[in-house]
Amino acid sequence: MLKGLGLILLLSIAVILPFFLKDYWVYSLTITLYYVVMAVAWNLLGGYTGQFSLSHHTFAVIGSYTSALLIIKTGIPLWMGMVSSWMFNVLISVLLGILCLRMRGIYLALTTWAFAEIVKTYIRMDFEFTGGDRGLKAPLFFKTMDPVPYYYLFLALAVITIIVIAVIMRSRIGYYLRAIRNDEVAAQAMGVNTVRWKVFAFMAASVIASVAGTFYGHFTGLISPVSGEFYEMALIIIFVVIGGMRSQSGPVVGAVSVRFLAEVLKKWPEVRMVILAALVILIMRFFNGGLMEFLRQGYQRVRQRKGAQPVSAYQETDKTNAMLEKK
């Protein structure tokens, strides 16, 4: 109940926020929401399923390029270009997934990493077709540069993504995916078709990335191979790890807080990346769980101080033991 109220409050703050902020900050928030979508989708794959895709950003790039190129070269309407680019991404991700998910997860990481670099290089090299390093002018979604409508678009997209992932994780499929992460052999022995569900998770995450990518392309109006750099992928991993892997709210909190930090340290981009990378290493080394786990533990400690007894497994067993002794 309290949680629901908090969510509604957060959402309403997010809805009225653009009325109080300058255009620059609305623009920045929109990009943050794009990263929220990417991080939440990657968490489904890297966090819950334990399969490392290192070409998450590449699917966004492929999505934005396919859509923009289709619209420019053939003159079809905008929505048709976007939908066909999503279809294209489904095809690519299923092919890649079937090829390298038959083996252990590390093959996916190796292959997708090479794939990401290859796609970036291709876009750079084939400049007559893709525009190369100069970038490509994509048609705008709302025919305006004003960031406010795009902000609402991305807010809706983020909310839908979070809901979709939450539904997936609460359904039967979610349990399959978690079982695959915890012990693939045991999952297989229990009758989970591991390859199929791994491919499904890879496809779902990649397609969400491509949806976000196409909207992003039609929002900024200029797409370039820079968003295919490995730096972008590292940012997504940083968001998820700092926020907390394997939690619904972790990637959201991570993306928002890290983006805020990034805006503050805008003048020193290298220092900012050094700090973030060091933070990720420290979190992984000493505190596996990220910000959300930190908040949860802090909350529990506060409750403990107020006198409410924390419920732990040991106490439960103590109680049952006491009851047994009475009998």
Binding site: L99, I106, W113, D126, E270, V271, V274, A277, V280
Partner: protein
């Protein structure tokens, strides 16, 4: 014929990189994603040495020192970051290693930009242009080719003939088994990580005049290195050579007969083909899952 030779030269150069990755994987079952950054550090060290201390004539000493530096750095990184995996703190090993080494790669890249600036440094040439059979070859490529072969020969002698090398083979076969034979596995892990990174560092030093010295100079060799590993099979040392040579040949043939500007794509096409036919690579074995 010309293209074949140039393909072989390319392939041998790629081998150095993937050998390091594969050696580390063989011992610890961990992929080091920061390999390209160790390559970059090797190149920077070599550049500093040649320009400020040694001069171009003693470049081979520079290669040794660069390899030594990356060895020490790699062993240190292993000691503070990778070792905890085996002492039993970390729950999910692959995940931990992947994220930590990726973060390390980002850290090193940005430190390089912070310290050296985003500039491209050009070290002086090691040797004048020469010929290899019918193929005209720049002196730098020739030196890198010969240097790589020498390093690979040393590495193989070390692995096959010395006691230490045999111990490494044993560790890669069965970690628990060698413990009973009195081998300190954790110490060997550290040395193995150091050797892997030293191979990358030596590669960086050798190829410094070819690929030039800048914060991202390790990326291209690393992509090739990972492609070779998937083609040849994870953890297989002979696979590295066959895959490296075939990748080099595929690239130079593709560049010659199809279109030279898409040279990066042919290797990936080869990789996809191999994955389709032999999912575990040419020489890889399906891993035992329990």
């Amino acid at each position: 014929m010309q293209f074949l030779i140039s393909g072989i030269v390319l392939g041998v150069l790629y081998c150095l990189m993937s050998l390091g990755v594969n050696f580390i994987y063989g011992i610890m079952k961990v992929i080091n994603w920061a390999m390209g950054e160790f390559f970059m550090i090797g190149a920077y060290v070599q550049y500093l040495l040649i320009v400020f201390f040694l001069g171009v004539r003693y470049w081979y000493i520079g290669v040794f020192i660069a390899a030594l530096c990356t060895f020490l750095l790699g062993a240190f990184v292993q000691k503070i970051l990778i070792k905890p995996m085996f002492v039993g703190i970390i729950e999910e090993k692959t995940e931990y290693a992947t994220i930590v080494t990726i973060a390390m790669a980002i850290l090193f890249r940005n430190l390089a930009i912070l310290i050296g600036g985003p500039y491209i440094y050009t070290p002086p040439d090691y040797a004048p242009p020469t010929h290899l059979g019918p193929l005209p070859l720049s002196g730098n490529n020739f030196i890198a080719f010969i240097g790589t072969i020498v390093i690979l020969a040393f590495f193989f002698y070390f692995l096959k003939k010395t006691w230490l090398g045999k111990a490494f083979q044993a560790v890669s076969q069965n970690r628990t088994g060698v413990l009973t034979a009195g081998i300190d596995v954790l110490k060997f892990d550290m040395i193995a990580f150091g050797i892997g990174t030293a191979l990358a560092g030596a590669g960086g030093a050798l190829l410094a005049p070819v690929l030039l010295v800048h914060p991202l100079c390790g990326v291209i060799p690393t992509v090739r290195g990972f492609e070779i590993i998937v083609i040849g099979g994870l953890g297989s040392i002979p696979g590295v050579f066959i895959a490296g040579l075939s990748l080099g040949i595929a690239e130079s043939l593709g560049a010659a007969f199809i279109n030279p500007s898409f040279i990066d794509i042919y290797g990936f096409g080869l990789l996809m083909l191999i994955l389709l036919i032999k999912p575990y690579g040419l020489f890889g074995k399906p891993e035992r899952s329990v």
